[in-house]
Amino acid sequence: METILSYLDNMFLSLPKTPETERAKAELAAMMEDKYNELLAEGKRENEAVGIVISEFGNLEELKEELGLEGIHQTETAGTQSTKRYIRREEAEEYLSFAGKAYKWIALGVLLCIWCPIPLFVFGNVEGISDVSMVFLGLIPLFVMIAVAVGLFIYHGIKLEKYEFMKKEQLKLDEGFLRELREQKESGTGRFAASIIIGVSLCIFGVVQFLVFGALESDDDYVLGMSAAILLFLVGIAVVCFIIAGARRECLNILLEEGDYSEGKKNNAKLIDRIGSVYWTAAVVIYLAWSFVTMNWGFTWIVWPIAGVLFGLVAAVCNLIKGENKA
């Protein structure tokens, strides 16, 4: 079998290394291996089997055209270096199902964060409640919920890290699969809109009931507390609607390279990332230097809002310059 693999290696030496040629090589190797094993099983001697497999291999010339190698040469000489990362269908499907699950857990974490003050609101205004029971009924649930939420964020954040490259690199997927994804996105639009509408309605209802109770019973702390709890309860559910509906769409956008993940925006994102790393380090240096020199800590925080707004400006200028370069 080594003879066959080194033969294949030699054949591919003349071709550039692209995801397509790598895939072609792997597939051809698999086919040759199958054939080789079957020939051995038929009772052929090893070198006989190798000879047959190699004689039936064919030639790479006919593959070149299908692999689009001419096209790749052109883009490389044009200096764009846009080597796209090939994502197999299985990888993409794994990503979709994995991210779908992870975002459900993250949504649960957000829900816990939003709901965590509810016990405080509910029990905080009960007449004559002792401090000790306040701790047990209000504070402990609050910290437990936050702890669980943080755990969920960290755990699933780290797991999602693996797929971070999809947001940044240029992707290449099979045409048929892309079409399917587009259909999925299309067919999901109704559900996406419905989730957003439900979420927004819940928020509006929550705020309205809060305002109404606030106006009617503004002197009754217990009613106000309950009303605030209801508001948080509804907002929590609404946010879960937003996250789950948005996550599915976001994942499809990432794979389809649409919306925020279009090719142009990805290139820009890289540039802004680089500028940002320098920019924010500089901001920290300025802030610390200024603060230590003047010891005027009460005022120097102003660096941050100014830096934030300026960064927006820098990013916008980046976009403009990039856009002009392209045109």
């Binding site: 397509e20 597939e27 051809l28 079957e38 004689s55 039936e56 291999f57 099979d174 048929g176 699969f177």
Partner: protein, 119 residues
Amino acid sequence: MRTVYREKGDDGLIGSDVMRGYNDLMILSLLMEQDSYGYEISKQIRQICSDKYVMKETTLYSAFTRLEKAGYIEGYFGTETNGKQRTYYRITPEGSSYYQEKCREWQLVKEVVEKFVKE
């Protein structure tokens, strides 16, 4: 002993350039019956035409890429009972209609060429 494959048709084997237009038809016809993977398809083709035509690996793989790009077949990762992971292919509805089209084309080609064949 297995016959070594030649380009000419003088030994009862078929040359690859003659078959060029109809490799797709053969592959699609096999995928119509069930999903399959590279070696299995090439083996079936060889068996069906009793060793008269052997599709070379590169021919088969370029056909896969071409058909996949055109949306006629789709590759997916599958595991066989013995645990080996392979790229399997399935035919799409577009692929089936392309197959029908190729069959009609072949009928026509056969009809035309037949008129000029004198035994």
